[in-house]
């Protein structure tokens, strides 16, 4: 890569690093793993940067790499767990003390932890769609480009994902609804 391209790529990293890390955190539900995956995605993007032709938004291209990389990781994990290899113990889940602090900071409310848990338990295709739509603010058409499917499929997955989440978070949902009604009646 030329020096000019390196400077350009550095700008890209600075612009998208937080978003990419958060995307992978929501997909994997694991702080340390999200960091590793995000770095690997940038590394792939760095190597493939010369092949990026600008036909799509850079962000769409980067997200597509990220989603595919996460799928590859899941496939590897499935294989490993099939052979009884490389399963992480709960103690290993968050190894960095800084990570624990971060998790405590973002999950101040019990509902945040419940939401993370519920999202991480969604089937992969629904999870990708829900994360991209609600956490990454991507439009259905862009999600379709990232995932390589039609906008109709995106909407359908989003609906199914929401139905599952509504079931899992039904208690929370009722509490939120109740809170909203109480606020209304107080006004």
């Amino acid at each position: 890569m030329t020096d000019t391209n390196k400077i350009e790529f550095d700008r890209i990293v600075q612009r998208y690093d937080k978003r990419l890390f958060n995307l992978l955190f929501r997909l994997s539900g694991d702080y340390d793993l999200a960091q590793d995956l995000a770095q690997e995605v940038f590394l792939i993007a760095y190597k493939e940067y010369s092949k990026f032709r600008g036909e799509s938004d850079f962000f769409t291209w980067l997200y597509r790499i990220a989603v595919n990389h996460h799928r590859r990781y899941l496939r590897k994990q499935k294989l490993k767990s099939f052979f009884g290899l490389g399963e992480r113990t709960p103690e290993e889940e968050v190894s960095d003390p800084g990570a624990l602090e971060q998790m405590e900071n973002i999950e101040r409310l019990p509902q945040d932890q419940m939401v993370r848990q519920a999202v991480s338990e969604l089937p992969a295709e629904f999870k990708e769609t829900v994360v991209l739509y609600y956490f990454e603010d991507q439009a259905c058409d862009d999600i379709a480009k990232i995932l390589g499917c039609s906008p109709g499929t995106v909407k359908s997955r989003l609906w199914r994902g929401r139905q599952i989440l509504a079931q899992k978070l039904s208690g929370l949902n009722a509490a939120v609804n109740q809170g909203g009604k109480n606020e209304l009646s107080a006004n």
């Binding site: 937080k18 958060n22 955190f25 590394l43 509902q111 609906w159 929401r162 989440l165 509504a166 939120v176």
Partner: protein, 240 residues
């Protein structure tokens, strides 16, 4: 207007509020009202999820990985991962070929055949097809020169300023050191900045700036034989 239309609208238009023509139905139908309110509340919860801050030194680590990947040598244009795959395939092919070409005598696995075909064990130095060789013992007192192995930070490791204590080991241990020279980024270190033992060396350099650094250790033994080892590591900024 019916309930199916409400569900279809919610399904096809996530995040949108119901148009007035559908609102009237909601007021009359408790099921559709529950659906619309539930979906609205769920969307509000999902959209309000906080974002994580980046882990410390994310970019420094990334650039260290990139420079490490760029520095990794390629063999015949192949990446290391593909190279190991090619090597494995080659090894499997070689073993298969060897197996196919080795003639297996009949009744090899019959115990009696083994006893009948057993040849007398030749006396030492009398093995057919193998020429006699003179194996001389290494002269006492002469040892091979010590080699230097980086321990921490190793080649292309990423370290933090606060735990920077460079360690290298020697094998075989240096029984009789002649001279030792340590440089970091081509700057020689004073003898008080490193501690030398028989089999290892610890270096406590002056504070170094974040970034890439190169260590060079030169060891000359009493016989005048010189061994050099150079390696680089990446230093991160102090965590705030």
């Amino acid at each position: 207007m019916n309930c199916q239309q409400i569900e279809l609208f919610i399904r096809e238009n996530p995040g949108l509020t119901l148009p007035p023509r559908l609102q009237s139905h909601i007021l009359e139908c408790p099921d559709c009202r529950a659906l619309a309110e539930g979906q609205g509340a769920l969307e509000a919860i999902l959209k309000s999820q906080p974002r994580l801050e980046l882990p410390p030194h994310f970019q420094a680590r990334l650039w260290a990985r990139i420079s490490q990947a760029e520095a990794r040598p390629k063999f015949m244009g192949l990446q290391p991962a593909r190279l190991s795959l090619a090597a494995s395939a080659l090894m499997v092919a070689a073993v298969t070929l060897l197996f196919l070409r080795t003639p297996v005598p009949e009744n090899t696995f019959a115990p009696q055949a083994v006893i009948q075909n057993a040849a007398p064990v030749p006396a030492q130095g009398n093995i057919p097809g193998i020429a006699k060789t003179n194996i001389t013992a290494r002269e006492p007192g002469i040892t091979e020169p010590s080699r230097i192995y980086p321990v921490w930070p190793g080649e292309q490791d990423v370290a933090e300023i606060r735990d920077l204590n460079i360690v290298a080991s020697f094998y075989p241990a240096v029984k009789s050191p002649g001279a030792i020279k340590v440089t970091i980024d081509d700057q020689p270190l004073a003898s008080g900045q490193y501690q030398f033992k028989e089999d290892y060396l610890t270096i406590a350099p002056n504070p170094l700036p974040p970034g890439q650094h190169v260590v060079l250790v030169s060891l000359t033994d009493r016989e005048g034989r010189e061994t050099n080892k150079s390696w680089s590591f990446y230093l991160l900024e102090e965590r705030s």
